[in-house]
């Protein structure tokens, strides 16, 4: 009996109760798929003889196919005879056979319902743990701050000033521009609505309350969260990556005191100032747009602002700033410390820090709103 296979280079015949495979194409990775389909189909109930005398070139892929056929046949209690191989091919076959990967016994388990539940549980526990860790970092910051008060010599003042410059002064243009535009938008939108009721003058109250109480500080915090939380994570994370933080610890330098305290404290000092700048810029923007759109002169805007709007709104707004600053700073520093030794985790933690910080700021703002509504300010 003689069977001719699609690939003319492989010839399978039956002879004396065993399969004889005669290969004449190069036995290489490029031909592997064709060879494997033929070798896979060989019956495992008889011995096999492979004739390599016409094979000019064999690489590890070809040798692997033969070695695998041998292990399949041996598992079925049959033998494989290799004929016509030259010295190099024999050596290669031996090398590959010796290097054949030994798959461990454990078979992959299917995911069950309890596995899925476990994933959900772990994610939930991970979230709680993350929250606890953040509180831990906050506590660490407070403890180091307290120590700095007791021993002012340890306090990294130069570093604090540097970070105030980075976090605060450098952010002034973007924050002021953003707030100015928000004031313009509010005046524009408010005027077109209020004009319908003939209540144009209340646009001043609208702008002032919206900006002083909520938008000024919230949007500033979001911008700072994007700018600064990522910068903290990237700076601390890259130090973590290069083992600088480990080096500091072995040299007896406290990373919390030298890295966290100046950064977080700079944010706590600078964010209220940035918020105040945003408030002023927002009011200016609103006043200019009211003048253009509604003809409310700056003097009238000022009078209405002082008479109609309580200063409490500004205090309420600015009182949130230190809390937001703590949230942003702690999340940024914490994320930086979670960076592993590869660049990929640095990128992942940096973006995670920004997302978490913005989310946490908005949640905190909502909580503040409820709180102030309850106490009636």
């Amino acid at each position: 009996m003689r069977r001719q296979h699609a690939s003319a280079a492989i010839d399978v015949t039956e002879h004396d109760g065993r399969s004889v495979v005669r290969l004449s194409s190069p036995l290489t990775v490029a031909e592997l798929a064709g060879i494997e389909t033929v070798l896979d189909r060989l019956p495992l109930d008889r011995d096999v003889r492979i004739d390599l005398s016409d094979v000019a070139h064999m690489d590890t892929a070809g040798a692997w196919a033969i070695a695998r056929l041998r292990s399949r046949l041996e598992a079925a209690g049959q033998a494989l005879e290799i004929a016509g191989s030259d010295a190099r091919q024999t050596a290669l076959l031996d090398t590959v056979a010796a290097g054949l990967p030994q798959a461990p016994e454990a078979s992959p388990r299917r995911r069950t319902l309890s596995d899925r539940l476990e994933t959900v549980g772990r994610a939930t526990a991970g979230f709680v743990l993350y929250f606890v860790e953040l509180i831990g970092y906050f506590g660490l910051f407070l403890a180091r701050l307290a120590r700095a008060v007791r021993r002012p010599k340890e306090f990294p003042l130069t570093s604090l000033v540097h970070h105030c410059q980075d976090v605060g002064v450098a952010a002034v243009p973007i924050v002021a521009l953003m707030a100015f535009l928000i004031g313009v938008v509010l005046a524009f939108q408010g005027s077109s609505q209020l004009r319908q009721f003939g209540a144009e003058i209340f646009v001043v109250d609208l702008i002032a309350i919206a900006i002083l109480r909520e938008l000024g500080i919230l949007l500033t915090s979001i911008i700072v969260a994007g700018r600064t939380a990522s910068a903290f994570t990237a700076a601390i994370g890259s130090m973590k990556m290069r083992e600088e933080i480990d080096a500091m610890q072995t040299l007896g330098i406290d990373p919390a005191m030298t890295l966290f305290v100046p950064r977080i404290l700079a944010l706590v000092l600078m964010l209220p100032i940035l918020g105040l700048i945003a408030n002023v810029a927002g009011l200016i923007g609103g006043a200019i747009m009211s003048w253009i759109e509604l003809g409310i002169s700056p003097a009238m805007f000022r009078v209405r602002l002082f008479e109609g709007v309580s200063i409490d709104h500004a205090f309420v707004g600015l009182s949130k700033a230190p809390v937001f600053a703590l949230i942003i700073g702690v999340i940024g520093c914490h994320a930086g410390m979670q960076v592993k030794s590869n660049a990929e985790s640095l990128g992942r933690m940096t973006s995670a820090a920004v997302v978490s910080a913005i989310f946490a700021v908005i949640v905190a703002d909502a909580l503040f709103s409820i709180f102030f509504a309850q106490v009636g300010i």
């Binding site: 290489t28 990775v29 490029a30 592997l32 798929a33 064709g34 494997e36 690489d59 590890t60 892929a61 692997w64 695998r68 190099r88 050596a91 290669l92 031996d94 090398t95 590959v96 290097g99 054949l100 990967p101 030994q102 798959a103 461990p104 592993k340 030794s341 590869n342 660049a343 990929e344 985790s345």
Partner: protein, 258 residues
Amino acid sequence: MAEPVIRLRGVRNQFGEQIVHDNLDLDIFRGEVLGVVGGSGTGKSVLLRTIVGLRAPQAGSIEIFGTETVGADEATRLAIDRRMGVMFQDGALFSSLTVRENVEVPLRAVPDLPPPLRGALADLKISMSGLPYLAGDKFPSELSGGMRKRAGLARALALDPEIVFLDEPTAGLDPIGATAFDELIKGLSRTLGLTVFLVTHDLDTLHATCDRIAVLAEKKVLVTGTMREMLDVDHPWVREYFHGPRARAALDTAEKES
């Protein structure tokens, strides 16, 4: 050994005013392990990068498998690249892929190779590089430096190249790991008939694996020859290198073993 697979003639490499190689000649013969040594800044890595085509030399000719590669078109270059494998210093594994996927990357270039076979071949290469089976599922960041180098070698060997370039294969490994890596290189070069171009600082590696040594100095290949022949070369740097206490110790160990 008569047939050179790589032939460099009059190669010049220059960075601005600074000339790294000038009129550099070198032959690499089929089946040999060639070790390239030289002081810092003599352009060992630049030479490697020039041969594998990551850098075009300012002048000279580089023939690989009898084909001129300087100024060759992309198809020619690609055909030659397929026949060469490079292991970079720290493995240069793709960090977003597992070790198995890393080794599979060059195998993707093979048409009609079904994914299960590709994975199985990758497993074979991983195992031949001396990594445990389960290492295939790990990401490069989860491996030690030595394991990353082995994984890099597995990727370089994925397509059964005829020439393998190794950049500092044993740098940063502990002596046991370095010895094991030397043996791996030697074993693979013998059984797979590989030609190996190896840049190293490690005198033990030179002793253990290299058939021939090329010394880079004075902007060219100063001498080539066996380790024994290096001892008789009368050049200050070569003398210092091969007669220093470390070289002596490495030579003694090698002699004890043989």
